[in-house]
């Protein structure tokens, strides 16, 4: 009855009876596109939640208070510094550093003092409720310590002050952070000037000829060539042909520089192009030549844009792992490299190595390291966006 009434209302020769179905289809389509967008964002949320959930526990690490005896015997074999029943629950790597402690505080020699000693990684994992390999007798000791308040978790400073270690509780990111800084200094020192100069040439000097187009095609291609192939280039040319030291920040930096180059060129060109032509014409009108106009007027105006692009390029280079693995930057590096020619590792490569370890604590530390790395990357991006907003000029 109602239906017929409706039909009567639409007694219009142009009325399309399929209209409702078509509108339904359109709204289904709209919802599908929305769903795919929501999927991406939900994934991002789940992903961050998962990483943070895995990484947060690694910022705390267990310490136990035990008596540490320091004498000739325990200096010789540091395991003897603690009582036999405690040997399994304290960190061996920590004990191995007792000679260094004595150098710092010689008054501790031939004494027995109660000290907060780093716990073994298995004790830490047991306290956090993860999988552990503690024996029953060690568990009773740990439980007893816990009741007496002789066991506590502290902020995990080791994560930032130590280099890599074969003992999970003693491993840190320090040497990788230094390696990353050295590598990125080389990268930017090479890629920034070359990238900006290329952009200036292409935007301000080059005519529209075959050579220019060839360069442009090359740059676009370089941006899309798989990263691992840059590693093959580094291996074949820098290491085998030029004989530069393998695993060094020098080779890593030079390899990453070639990868960062297209990013810097493209963003610098965009920044130069955004400078209005009236600035150039005014300069020429005052009798300046091309180089003076570019150097004194165009470049300063384009600089914020160039800087923003370079920071984004830096962030990109910072997370790159594949080419660095090829040139050997995944070696075991316990000490921070002192120069750009020494063997080093970088942060993502360190995380890559840890992620492959069987011990639960390495996995935890990988997630924590990822949090550190992502924080740095997000800060770099935020700085870039801030600079762009602050110096953006509306012409």
């Amino acid at each position: 009855m109602i239906k017929r009434k409706k039909q009567k209302q639409n007694n219009n020769p142009f009325y399309d009876s399929t209209l409702k179905a078509r509108h339904n289809k359109a709204s289904i389509f709209k919802n599908l596109t929305l769903a795919s967008l929501i999927f991406s964002i939900v994934f991002l949320g789940f992903f961050l939640f998962d990483i943070i959930g895995k990484g947060i526990p690694a910022f705390k690490i267990a310490y136990v208070q035990v008596n540490v005896t320091i004498d000739e015997k325990s200096l010789d074999d540091t395991r003897f510094a603690v009582a036999k029943e405690h040997r399994e629950i304290v960190s061996r790597a920590w004990l191995r550093d007792i000679p260094a402690l004595i150098k710092e505080k010689p008054e501790l020699m031939n004494t027995t003092t109660a000290m907060w000693v780093l716990a073994d990684d298995q004790v830490d994992q047991y306290l956090k409720g993860n999988n552990h390999k503690l024996k029953d007798k060690d568990i009773t000791i740990v439980e007893k310590f816990k009741e007496e308040g002789l066991i506590k978790t502290k902020f995990n400073a080791i994560l930032f002050t130590n280099g890599d270690s074969k003992t999970p509780e003693y491993a840190g990111l320090y040497s990788a952070i230094i390696g990353s800084i050295l590598t990125l200094i080389i990268t930017m020192a090479v890629a920034f000037p070359i990238g900006v100069m290329t952009a200036i040439y292409l935007e301000e000097f080059a005519g529209d000829n075959k050579f220019t187009r060839f360069i442009e095609i090359n740059i676009n291609n370089l941006a899309a060539i798989p990263a691992i192939l840059f590693g093959l280039l580094g291996l074949a040319i820098y290491i085998n042909l030029f004989g530069l030291p393998r695993s060094s920040p020098l080779v890593g930096g030079l390899t990453l520089a070639l990868m960062t180059l297209p990013i810097i060129i493209v963003s610098s060109r965009a920044a130069l192009r955004a400078v209005p032509d009236s600035i150039r014409q005014a300069g020429y009108g005052l009798g300046l030549n091309k180089i003076q106009v570019t150097r004194d007027h165009v470049l300063p105006l384009a600089f914020p844009g160039i800087l923003t692009g370079s920071i984004l390029g830096l962030a990109h280079a910072m997370g790159e792992t594949a080419p660095l693995i090829i040139i050997g930057m995944i070696a075991f590096i316990p000490d921070a490299p002192g120069s750009i020619t020494q063997a080093a590792t970088v942060m993502p490569a360190q995380l890559f190595t840890w992620a492959g370890m069987p011990e639960g604590m390495y996995i935890e530390k990988t997630a924590a390291g990822i949090m550190v790395l992502l924080t740095i990357l997000i800060s770099l991006n935020a700085i870039a966006i801030y600079l762009r907003k602050k110096f953006e000029v509306k012409w």
């Binding site: 289809k25 389509f29 599908l32 280039l233 180059l261």
Partner: protein
Amino acid sequence: MSTFESRKKQRELNEKLIKFTLIGAATISILTTFGILFSILFEAIEFFKLRSFWYFITGTTWSPGVIGSQFGALPIFAGTFVITIIALGVAIPIGLGSAIYMSEYASPNLRDYLKPLLEVLAGIPSVVYGFFAAITVAPLVVKIAESVGLEATFNSALASGIVMGIMIIPTISSLSDDVIRAVPDSQRKAAFGLGMTHGETIKDIVLPTALPGIISASLLALSKALGETIVVVMAAGLRPNLSWNPLEDMTTVTVTIVNALVGDFEFSSPETLSAFALGLVLFVVTLILNMISLSLIRKFKEKYKVNTL
């Protein structure tokens, strides 16, 4: 007068010098491309002097490091293919859907928030995705497969393919979004004027116009998936496996390159040199994909006279 002349000369010389330096800098990018090509090509030629090219392309046994080692890369290509298809199967619908929503439906204000959010996905380093694939997604795949009575390995192609697909969503969404927005508004208005719904306008008018750009984005994503290394090294298998079952472990070109080069073989041994032969294949394939993609987008730009892409 003569000082003026000499100053002018000096200035012209300076100008030439600066221009020359700038050209020199611009040449670096050409040198890099050829550096990559030749460094890979020469070592690959060394490899093909030791082993047959034909067997490399068509052989099905990849067994480095043993006596009578064989280098038939077909299972490696197949594994790469399977993982890449999974990745694109995730990335193209989701990336394109997100791009359509952002460019056609979302208000400009909302779009300003959504776009950077998607670009965060592009800024996450691959080692992070690899960790996520190996530690979280792979066990999840095993569990889900078990619950439906299937058997999956912890190095399944499915886990690394899905995560890789999510990783390349921004590659597709960002470029597609730009292309769809570059479609002239007059086309949409004409379609509305003819009484088409918004959905029909998008499907029948906007998307076909933007198709070259969308294909270009998908080819770029394909080339990215083929060359992605860390995610598959961390989450996919090491065993060359000629199979179509995505729940099995399989290996890729990039994984094999990494394994060949971190091993303890002599640089001149076929084991190490095989990495360069695989690298050459990867280089040629990605170069062709990039070239097609770039020429498609250039034609689109010329046709609709946009220069924001």
